[in-house]
Subunit: 260 residues, 2 copies
DNA sequence: CTGCTCATTCTGCACAGCAGAAAATCCTAT
DNA sequence: ATAGGATTTTCTGCTGTGCAGAATGAGCAG
């Protein structure tokens, strides 16, 4: 089976391993759908190659996705995300636009920092890693792309919550009984002053994350983060990390504005 | 096979019939995902009953949806839409909130008008029927729920486009080579004055639709529409249709505001 | 604490989903 | 405009996947 990951969500009830009785054909369809949402267009051949199935199989799965509005046919040979994978007002999907705008700046961030870099968006009380560029040094944080974490447990989630009023934060955290709202709100006040959030191993052991918001029309729509092995993290470099993150965020914001 | 419909999209290349070589297990997973997005929470038993499969089968499919982030487990026994089916900033999904807020007013509209009523949202250059209440008189327009139409061919799509600047409309219609942009823009000027759009059989033969926008914070996020058999439509009743639609739209807007 | 309901796990088997072949379509180069 | 190659789409035989049902586990109400 190809390299594939579930969500490392820490709830005792939510599976982060592949289910014991996986339904492979359903899984393949869902994987294609996720690729369409994150990356834009795919052809039958590309989908077949990535899934490791025959083109006839990929074609059948894409027909199912089209039939149920998870995909639409391009003008050419490709398929792209259909209405179910986009919500009202987005075309192409904001998620795909964010991801496309982020890959260049994330690579730049990795080049200058030597550490892995990520882009996250918030969905409800979780954040989702929609783009991930891995550092190429031996000791590094591996790709988080596709993973989902509780919103308040990540630097990106924290910095996006910091852009919201306290009442709205409290409402979002209703879906997170494990989170202490008062503690989170207190932390947000510091983050609002600093403009950047530091996460000392709260999402994952051995990983420190530093995150800054990416804004579209003044609204925080995503966050760009550095993922640093805790053995390499230096608190005194925070201003430097922040400068790099600010540059990456501004580059993404500029790309989003010219994109339309 | 249970009653199920594809999208009646008119492109010669896009299937609106069930695919010839359907993949049933993928199809079942996608149907569950669509229900989660539109309706909120589902339990294993509910999913099994609606699909017509055993609970063990439904359970396996839901585990696949959780694994690939199309679903998350509720605090109780239910599953709801996961991060893939929500975009950033929505919790619960705006689509589910719109649908929940619309069902009461749609029933009221059917009661007062005697015709079927729908709620649509725009995704790119299409509109999607996310809620549908059918009239119970013998001659009526049947449910459109789940269907997707080109944006400019429906009254709901037209009235939502009317809330956008001409430049943005032209950009959206780039995905619709069949649409004459000048004709659409001309029609939009009339719709902006009237506040309501009338569609004389442009989406479907024998159906006249009248639609009005539903706004959230001043933005048109959806449209509420009456679907009237063309034999029963009376142009001189347009002010009456408009008054009913306006009342339904205002009721939905009020429900959305109190919901948060 | 008990009983009921629902969720979850496990297993044998039938048929659905697979790959491969063939046909059709599309795109690019000449 | 035509030809060739690449890709998509359709069709079919076969096998292993996904199904239902049984058994077990979990949760909730009385």
């Amino acid at each position: 089976m190809q390299n594939e990951q579930g969500t490392p969500f820490s709830s005792s009830r939510e599976p982060k391993r592949r289910p014991s009785y996986a339904v492979a054909s359903a899984d393949n369809a869902l994987r294609i759908a996720t690729w369409l949402q994150l990356e834009g267009s795919l052809t039958v051949s590309e989908a077949a190659a990535r899934l490791g199935v025959a083109p006839s199989t990929a074609h059948r799965l894409l027909q199912m996705l089209v039939y149920r509005d998870f995909a639409v046919r391009d003008a050419g040979r490709g398929y792209r995300a259909g209405p179910v994978l986009e919500l009202a007002g987005n075309s192409p999907s904001l998620t795909a636009r964010l991801r496309a705008a982020s890959l260049g700046p994330l690579r730049g961030l990795v080049a200058v920092s030597g550490d892995s870099a990520n882009l996250v968006i918030r969905t409800g009380d979780r954040v989702r890693f929609i783009a991930s560029v891995e550092s190429d040094v031996a000791l590094r944080v591996s790709t988080r792309e596709g993973m989902v974490f509780p919103v308040e447990r990540t630097s990106g989630g924290t910095v996006m919550l910091a852009g919201l009023p306290d009442e709205e934060v409290a409402e979002i955290l209703q879906g997170r009984p494990e989170a202490d709202v008062a503690t989170v709100l207190s932390r947000l006040r510091m983050v609002r002053r600093a403009g950047v959030a530091v996460n000392l191993e709260r999402a994952e052991e051995g990983v420190v994350a530093v995150g800054r918001a990416v804004a579209l029309a003044g609204e925080p729509v995503a966050a760009v983060c550095l993922a640093i092995p805790s053995s390499r993290y230096r608190a005194q470099r925070l201003l430097e990390y922040d400068a790099w993150l600010r540059a990456a965020a501004e580059a993404m914001e500029a790309a989003l504005e010219t994109d339309g």
